[in-house]
Amino acid sequence: MTALPVSVITGFLGSGKTTLLSRLLRDPAFERTAVIINEFGAVGLDHLLVESSDEQILTLEGGCVCCTVRGDLVRTAGDLLARRASGSIPPFERIVIETTGLADPAPIVHALMTDRDIADALRLESVIATVDAVTGAGTLDAHPESVKQAALADRIIITKTDLADPAANGLAERLQALNPAAPKLTAVHGAVDATRLFQGAYDPARYNPALYESPAHRHCGINTFCLRRERPLHAATLSLFLQVAAEHCGAKLLRLKGLVDVVESPGRPAVIHGVQHVFHPPAWLDAWPDEERSTRIVVISQGLDAQWLQDLLEVLDDEVKACSIS
């Protein structure tokens, strides 16, 4: 069975998630999309604003999808898949989940990646965050939720750019510092190049270390950096490194993505990708995607020490090497 792509649209209250979604669903390329809308409050309204066939829009009401209704999300996704399989709804080709404006996207991603009922049937495609060009800077200052939403995103959509210039008010620079690798798109009334939204979570361009060389990549307690290593790592080192990082860094490790040169797999780098302590199984490329042939691990964190993680990687590899020799 081919796994269906699922994308998460997040963003702070009023940042344009519903407008973006409504516009996307009018695009013929995305008409075969099922939508799960999470609304905070006893009576949901957002789904009334999204123009699409009702039978493919499901709402999760009465709580935030990242906490109280996480189980409902899994059940709803499972229900959609079952109805698709039975033919009771049109055969959609993608699921989009719109979170509440206050949601932390990490637990949602965790649920999608790990729940045994749906993880095999779905493939996390992209986390998209909307940021309002007018109020976004103030929101980043005042609401940690919005910082995390932008930091975790694969793509950032700056909305309402007809009303404010994100370059002039400093928002674009702040988002670049917060999440250098995420492409920044702009949208007016939800109009955006939809094909650029859903290009998958793996993008080789994001592993360009030059993106992380500026010392300014610390924002609202979130720092982004790139660990590098010229010599290949042992596979066991990679496994131990992820275990130690997950165990000790906990929720401070917001996101980790990497291309890893592995001793046991010459010429075929591993792609690693995790949100906090939950990772996809490593994937193996047939060849390096660019000219550089060295390990690059991009980390978005809440204040982790880049040098500590780099030292950890080196000491673990020395230990593994010593074990394999003795």
Binding site: A119, R123, H277, H280, L285, Q307, V315
Partner: protein, 90 residues
């Protein structure tokens, strides 16, 4: 190794120092809240944790060593657990 140990203390929000042990080649002395612990390199590989002359930890590698140190020095520090999901990335 000293940088990894001192960085771990900072990560756990534990005030302390890490120095090379003059008495044990390849070893380290951790001083935390007035108590000293010695981290002794064990042949052919691995680590011992020694306090007051008594060994109370034997580890084949850094992951186990760090885990016991955290349990001793920062029992309330948040602990994560690596989970590998079922979904393929590509």
């Amino acid at each position: 190794m000293a940088c990894v140990l001192s960085g771990a203390l900072r990560l756990w929000d534990v005030a302390g120092t890490v120095e090379h042990d003059d008495e044990q080649p390849g070893g380290f002395v951790l001083a935390v809240r007035g108590t000293e612990m010695r981290i002794v390199a064990r042949a052919p590989h691995g680590w011992l944790i020694v306090r007051g002359g008594e060994t109370f930890g034997v580890h084949a590698g850094l992951p186990g060593l760090l885990r016991q140190l955290r349990e001793e020095l920062a029992p309330h520090a948040k602990v994560g657990r690596l989970i590998i999901g079922a979904q393929s990335l590509l």
